[in-house]
């Protein structure tokens, strides 16, 4: 087990290096530069700017510099702030959105999935399963505007935009409900389908029948015996789900006008803000790779079959 964990940690290093190299060279091979928008820039000023941001050095030297010193580099667009500043200021907002969405997705998804798996092909299966199908076919950018239209414009229950009230530092505000719900419901639909499939597989196994024969109560069979195996597909989905939540947050932050990291990422790519792009990509990549690692370890420790293989 320890050997497995150690090997997996070692494997993340080349992966992250690959991500850094791909992003960096994609940035630099693309036409256009960070100072193209400012039309009045004279050649002398441009040269000075290039010098200030080390753009005049050879590519490999720049790449090396980016690698060793990424969080402390200046953003091209906002030279007074470093990449680390921007990420540490904006990411908590995105993280909170993602966390709330994940809680909604897991609680609704697992509940619906388990209910649907109890009596397959009956009404208590059809209703949650159809709701899940509708959820999958209503992507966040359709669901978000619809929820705003119903709850903000028509019913006037919840605010349509913003995050954390006027100050933005309230722990929980009513304007957080709609964004997290929009983002969460889409994944709730996925998770409920995965849970249902996993539970159906497990509930027909011999050891469940044995437990029934021993006279274990239905809740005990469900919670103690079935859920552990039935949730395995959900756990292996957590890695991709987090990656999806990050991508989804770009859209949610645009729809609800939330000052998170996603908006900055898309803007920085358009601005050719090389340092910020690389910083945000590396930050997200590290996050996803770390979460994948945790998911892998969880999977092995929950699934005895995998333990023997590793």
């Amino acid at each position: 087990m320890l050997k497995f964990i150690f090997r997996r940690i070692l494997e993340t290093v080349p992966v992250l290096l690959c991500v850094a190299a791909m992003t960096f060279f994609m940035c630099r091979l693309a036409p256009g530069g960070p100072f193209d928008d400012d039309k009045q820039v004279t050649p002398e000023v441009r040269e000075q700017l290039n010098k200030q941001f080390n753009l005049d050095k050879p590519l490999y030297a720049q790449f090396y510099q980016y690698l060793v010193n990424l969080p402390n580099l200046q953003s091209f667009k906002y030279p007074s702030r470093t990449v680390g500043d921007i990420i540490s200021q904006k990411f908590p907002v995105s993280a909170k959105l993602g966390f709330l969405a994940m809680c909604i997705a897991l609680s609704i998804g697992i509940m619906f999935g388990v209910i649907a798996s109890l009596r397959p092909n009956s009404y208590i299966d059809y209703i949650p399963s159809s709701l899940a199908m509708i959820g999958i076919c209503l992507p966040t950018f359709v669901m978000g505007p619809i929820l705003i239209y119903i709850f903000s414009l028509k019913l006037k229950w919840l605010p349509a935009t913003g995050w954390g009230g006027f100050d933005g530092d309230i722990f929980f505000a009513s304007d957080m409900i709609l964004p997290s719900l929009t983002l969460g419901l889409f994944y709730a639909a996925y998770i409920s389908r995965l849970t249902r499939g996993g539970m159906l597989d497990i509930l027909t196994q011999d050891y469940i029948r044995t437990a029934k024969a021993k006279g274990a109560s239905a809740p005990r069979i469900l919670l103690k015996h079935a859920l552990r195996g039935g949730l395995l597909p959900v756990i292996s989905f957590m890695g991709p789900a987090v990656a999806g939540l990050i991508a989804g947050s770009f859209v949610i932050e645009t729809i609800f006008n939330i000052p998170g990291l996603g908006q900055d990422f898309v803007k920085s790519a358009f601005n050719r803000d090389y340092t910020l792009v690389l910083g945000v990509v590396m930050f997200y990549a590290t996050l996803i790779v770390t979460l994948n690692l945790i998911v892998d370890i969880l999977q092995v420790s929950l699934n005895p079959k995998l333990k023997f293989q590793s």
Partner: protein, 322 residues
Amino acid sequence: MANPTTQTESNALAQVEKGESLWVGAWHRLRKNKMALIGSVFILVLIGFSFIGPFFLENDYYTYQELELATKGPSKDHILGTDHLGRDQLGRIIKGGQISLMVGLVATVVSLTIGIGYGTISGYFGGKIDRFMMRIVDILYSLPFTIFVILLMVFAKDLGDSIDTWFKESGSNFSISGQWNMLLLFIAIGAVEWLTMARIVRGQVLSLRKQEFIEACISLGLPTHRIIFRHMVPNVLGPVIVYTTLTIPAVMLLEAFLSFLGLGVQPPTPSWGLLIKDGADRMREAPWMLIYPGIMFALALFSFNFVGDGLRDALDPKTSKD
């Protein structure tokens, strides 16, 4: 002279109950699945709507503007209303459907080709090659791919213009910048969506490789490419078809996602994602601009998903409980 024994023999043979082939059995199971049938009918309707619909409309049906009619709700002339620039919303949705379905199909074919090729080679050769190739897939799986697609779409946007100037300088009239964004979408999406297909195909090929008829092929001395393409690929077709129908909605979703962020197809060409974006921006004053493309998009995803699920249940009786 007719031989009476052969006559009776063939009669007897004709009476032997015919076994159901995989495809016939699948068709019977699929026919029982109402949602899958409704889904496939609706896909045909959508294709007709988007590709035959334009024949009943003017040539410039999706770009023609009447600015004084901008942002008007549904009426007799424009049954789905007009958008913020006074263009007929029905025409926009028809054209948007063409683009969305086309991106869905072409990008899926791209990912299919890569996935099948990669998966077959990996599964067929097995051993070290297989382990290495699948390790790459595992690693790619763990990467934040949507982020790369966004970067690719942003950075390569201007590349079309550069290619055009290069062609002009070398004295050719060839121009691709008009189609560049579509081309980029096909490549970018196709490059992302092939991973699962490669895994599925590899698993199938791996189990096929041990079967007798492949061993027979090898002992007959057939060349490798012939074994792979004549004997293996047709046998992995079932799961591939199922996964293809499930990839199309995923691809359409990704395209709409990119268009929503302003990175997909470029105006004035619409796609459903772009129309939803336009509608979401003006939902207060023009809810119809959001609702109709939203409904069309959701219905398309709905049908493809149901058909995919139905096909999976039909082709693989084991998973039909799922």
